[in-house]
């Protein structure tokens, strides 16, 4: 007897499901994350190559031409997705067309606004629309992930334009981090908390990939909010400032994503979030802005605080065995 049969029987015995319901068609097997990774990467690259090809042939250089090409390709992608959701070739072709269409629309947005902030804001808006409209889980997840990245870029460029961060900008830079990522954190938390509600209302096709996109953006996307000065890893002329602490904020966001991932029992996402947190700590090591000695003290203090918190919580929850979760 399969797990689904066991579950069905248990629900029937509790009176939560009618007995003798016709067995529906076999459930489509879920696509493992690594298969999605292979397909997504290939589709993304195919989209980039496809756009280059179209660019070389038609040479669209005005906003109207780029918008026309973008809308056409996105419409074609949507059509292919809707045409046959079980056809792998159409899925991949649609993904490539969708990526090419999005890149063309990004070019058009740049042509219209001639500003980085305006472009990324329009891209964020486009990604949100794509999350709602595209009928494919992988495409929805990618759109949700890129929506968060574009949103982070939009806030930073709208706030500071392309000016480099410096010591005097720490308070607004910190504020912008919270403006960008608190809504994402709140969104992820809300989606996890209300999971049963949206599953019952048939919204899982939308909420599940959106949640995955939000959690992955919390693990890795926070780099989009990093100060430009953080890119000067080996420059000797960088001022000393507290922006060097930035990656630790990102590491905290990644650990929050790990906890959310555990709440939905997604091991791949837990691994990705922990990997993201480690990468942020490595980035912290290489960042200039403060001395290694200061960073050492910060890490020691953080480590002691985390360990003490773990010990206190452990005592509170009576976990004398020390057994692993």
């Amino acid at each position: 007897m399969s797990d689904l049969d066991v579950l069905k029987r248990a629900l029937v015995s509790r009176g939560l499901m009618a007995e003798g319901l016709p067995t529906p068609a076999p459930l489509p097997s879920h696509r493992p994350w690594f298969v999605s990774l292979v397909l997504g990467s290939a589709g993304w690259l195919a989209g980039v190559f496809g756009l280059i090809c179209i660019g070389l042939i038609f040479r669209p250089d005005t906003a109207l031409e780029l918008t026309s090409a973008g809308v056409l390709m996105l419409a074609a992608a949507g059509g292919l997705y809707a045409l046959d959701r079980e056809n792998a070739f159409f899925d991949q072709l649609a993904l490539a067309l969708s990526i090419a269409g999005q890149l063309a629309m990004t070019g058009a947005a740049w042509d219209i606004t001639n500003s980085v902030a305006g472009t990324v804001a329009l891209v964020a808006l486009m990604q949100v629309v794509l999350v709602l409209l595209l009928p494919n889980r992988l495409a929805k997840f990618l759109a949700a992930f890129f929506a968060c990245i574009a949103w982070a870029f939009a806030v930073r460029f709208a706030w500071w334009d392309a000016e480099e961060f410096s010591l005097r900008l720490v308070p607004p830079a910190l504020a912008s981090w919270f403006v960008v990522w608190i809504p994402v954190i709140a969104g992820a938390h809300a989606l996890v908390r209300t999971e049963a509600r949206w599953m019952a209302s048939g919204m899982q096709y939308l909420a599940r990939p959106a949640l995955t996109g939000l959690l992955l953006s919390l693990a890795f996307g926070t780099w989009a909010s990093l100060p430009f000065s953080s890119a000067h890893l080996w420059s000797a002329s960088v001022e000393t400032d507290w922006l060097a602490m930035w990656p630790l904020l990102s590491a905290a966001a990644a650990l929050f994503a790990a906890i959310c991932a555990f709440r939905i029992r997604n091991r791949a996402l837990i691994g990705a979030a922990i990997g993201g947190a480690l990468l942020h700590v490595v980035h912290f090591y290489f960042l200039l802005g403060t001395t290694l000695l200061m960073k050492s003290c910060i890490m020691l203090i953080v480590g002691v605080l985390l360990s003490v918190t773990a010990a206190l919580l452990s005592r509170r929850t009576r976990d004398p065995s020390g057994a692993e979760a």
Partner: protein
């Protein structure tokens, strides 16, 4: 425990109400209890705390603070190493404290080696530090009996091998082992590929023993991904002809293909995990796309069109085959 996507489809097909979905999540153990959530959060905090303290010590060694003399620095790191070993003896693995202490000791072993190189200016390459760290830290990792420690060890080893292959320092004890063989870049990459494949084979063996808990599937996937990565790197070098297409290149590519075929054959015979085949499919897509881009001599627009179509076609075929196996092996496992 049921997969979330299965539950999504189940809830949609039977149009379950809120109460029924809640019950389904509870019955299938898809939603952790508050006790499980607390234990996970505590484990995560413990791990993050231990690693943060270890990172703090590593940063301290790297800072090379002159206010503390050399003896005191060595004393500090050695004292921490001994203390963590002591904690591990007091609460030996599989107790969480013992495991954490041995992971901490493993990091301290690396810090001690770095301090040694920094103090005595040994002239050792960075790869040597990581390689020596992985060798000397191995007993601690074995004693920890913990997959997380093994994951850290695999990372350290692969940083060493990656640095060695990318920088080709022609120095150090690893170079001494192969210096007489005149290996070029592609041939050299076969060594880390084989090291990782051997580790993968070892994990497959351990999985069948009573030690299977310390070698979970994710660890095997990690080393296999590293192996396939090195093999793909070697194959790309050969296809791009960066070494001038020597006879050794052809042999290196042949060796990679044979190794990958062996991995695929094993995975198909075992019929449990599709990951090895997905990794190989990804590698095949990269290698064939590179070959196509190199071989076709046409206008740019034609090349990009062909590459785009090839990527779509090859990934479609890979996806179909992989999903077919996912379904088939899942059915077999249920039956």
């Amino acid at each position: 425990m049921m997969d979330r996507n299965e539950l999504d489809a189940f809830a949609a097909q039977y149009k379950l109400g809120r109460e029924a979905v809640d019950a389904a999540l509870e019955i299938s153990r898809a939603r952790p209890t508050s006790d499980e959530l607390w234990r996970f959060a505590i484990s995560l905090l413990r791990l993050a705390g231990a690693l943060s303290i270890a990172a703090g010590i590593v940063f301290f060694v790297a800072a090379n603070w002159e206010e503390i003399d050399v003896l005191a620095r060595f004393g500090l790191v050695e004292a921490l190493l001994v203390a963590s070993a002591g904690v591990a003896l007091w609460r030996p693995p599989p107790h969480a404290l013992g495991r954490g202490a041995l992971l901490f000791a493993f990091v301290m072993a690396g810090a001690l080696l770095a301090l040694f190189g920094q103090t005595y200016q040994t002239g050792a390459n960075v790869y040597e530090l990581f390689l020596t760290w992985s060798v000397l830290g191995l007993p601690l990792v074995i004693a920890a009996q913990w997959s997380v420690s093994w994951g850290a060890w695999v990372l350290v080893l692969n940083v060493a091998l990656g640095l060695f292959c990318s920088l080709r320092p022609e120095d150090g004890w690893f170079w001494f082992l192969i210096s007489g063989t005149r290996l070029d870049a592609a041939e050299l990459l076969l060594a880390p590929m084989m090291v990782n494949l051997s580790l993968w084979g070892l994990r497959e063996y351990v999985e069948e023993t009573r030690w299977s808990a310390i070698a979970p599937p994710w660890l095997g996937r990690l080393v296999l991904a590293c192996a396939v990565g090195y093999g793909t790197w070697a194959g790309t070098i050969v296809i791009l002809g960066e070494n001038g297409n020597t006879g050794g290149d052809a042999l290196a590519l042949l060796f990679v293909i044979i190794a990958f075929v062996c991995v695929a054959t094993y995975a198909i015979r075992k019929r449990t995990d599709v990951f090895p085949l997905a990794a190989l499919a990804g590698s095949a897509i990269v290698l064939t796309t590179t070959a196509l881009a190199t071989a076709v001599e046409m206008d740019d627009e034609v090349i990009f069109f062909l590459l785009s179509i090839w990527l779509i076609a090859s990934s479609t075929v890979s996806g179909r085959l992989l999903m077919k196996l996912v379904r088939l092996w899942a059915r077999e496992a249920e039956a």
